[in-house]
Symmetry: C2
Subunit: 242 residues, 2 copies
């Protein structure tokens, strides 16, 4: 990540990274400065008011609120954002099993103005995990498939280390080295990485597959605090009516 | 903040925003990708190990660790970073009254490779507050002079609302509208704003001077938890030997 999107610099991409401190979740706002069409990736319920206010203050028109996957650690903001910003549609992968207005899969594009993000299927943390790649491949939003110097856990929600290893290597590490990687979470106060950096420095994904599987199967992590509330809610966009 | 630095995109500026969650402080890493010379703005003691590791991992050579001012809410990381990254010099404003290797003032430049940040004197939160402006005016690091939709308090450490009002209007709001503003703190999970945005949306600084002074004099904020520890430490670079 030595350079930022050349497109963002010259062509009117609006971009904001937003943070939710309880689950250390990042939400991403992307918009076309000219048409004002905007999308949010991984909004959090508790921060929906903040996000809606920012979108209104910037004069943007939210058309899609998309999740990278069905989260276990926080409740999605997509449902409430549909109420706060009428016209906004919720988006999630078909394979997630969650309800939404729009179901997408590998290769599908979410368009906003002259920009779009393309969905890449990156299962392993969950079955339905998507990575969203900006049209010029300068930025990718990896959800919990790949974190900065880490990756999402694989011990629940259809988690499978072997599957995750192949997802990251074939769908994320195949992006250009200077592609910026924006994770779903960071617990250390870091905000961004790059393909080059993670290919060189990720302590798990630089290992071979067998070693990676061993690492992931021996993490012995506690059960996520919010999972019993978050997953049922997220299967319905975070609120009763998706 | 609709666009990112065109320079960053095309000319090899390394840029990272880093977060410290206890005092909600942002630290900024800037470097020249080619020469590897790097600077840190407002590092935090508790995150010095993280910052030093990142700098080493990216193959950078830290030459300056600069503070925007003598902080009251956290202990600076500049002193310990000098030990972790030999060759690094601490920097602060002459007017801060704090010790450092290098004392700077209005108009002075901190160079790293082919880039530099220029110091603008923006007192009001403290006497010695500096705003660091990137050479192409695409980014400014405002410390606590200007926060996203807010500003630093003015009720201790030589704070003066009238002075702060003039600092922000003359030294920050005079920058180009698309200049990205990176604050010293954010308590809401926002990461960046722009001159255009703050001139239009800042609930305090959009008021006239008299109204601003009234707002600032009626905040009735509690005393910062760490002030009695942080200020004496920060007068000495955070550790005994600056
Ligand atoms: Fe997850
Ligand atoms: Fe301060």
């Amino acid at each position: 990540c030595r350079r930022y999107s050349a497109m963002a610099a010259s062509s009117g991409l609006v971009f904001r990274q937003l943070f939710e401190p309880v689950s250390c979740t990042y939400t991403y706002l992307l918009a076309d400065k000219n048409t004002k069409e905007a999308i949010l990736i991984d909004p959090v319920l508790d921060k929906a008011e903040r996000d809606a206010k920012l979108i209104k203050d910037l004069g943007l028109n939210m058309i899609y609120a998309a999740n990278t996957h069905c989260h276990a650690d926080h409740i999605t903001g997509t449902g409430i954002l549909k109420k706060l910003l009428p016209g906004c549609k919720s988006v999630i992968s078909k394979d997630s099993g969650a309800r939404a207005d729009l179901y997408i899969q590998e290769g599908d594009q979410i368009k906003f103005g002259k920009f779009w993000v393309e969905a890449r299927s990156t299962p392993g943390h969950t079955d339905g995990c998507l990575t969203y790649v900006l049209n010029d491949k300068s930025m990718a939003f990896t959800g919990d498939a790949l974190l900065i110097r880490g990756c999402g856990r694989t011990d629940f929600q259809q988690g499978c280390p072997k599957t995750l290893y192949h997802s990251v290597h074939s769908k994320i590490f195949s992006l250009p080295g200077n592609c910026l990687l924006y994770p779903g979470h960071d617990y250390t106060g870091q905000t961004v990485s790059s393909v080059e950096e993670e290919k060189r420095l990720n302590p798990r994904l630089t290992k071979d597959e067998a070693e990676f599987v061993k690492i992931m199967n021996n993490l012995n992590l506690p059960k996520p605090k919010q999972i019993d509330v978050a997953v049922p809610a997220n299967l319905k966009c975070g609120i009763q009516d998706p």
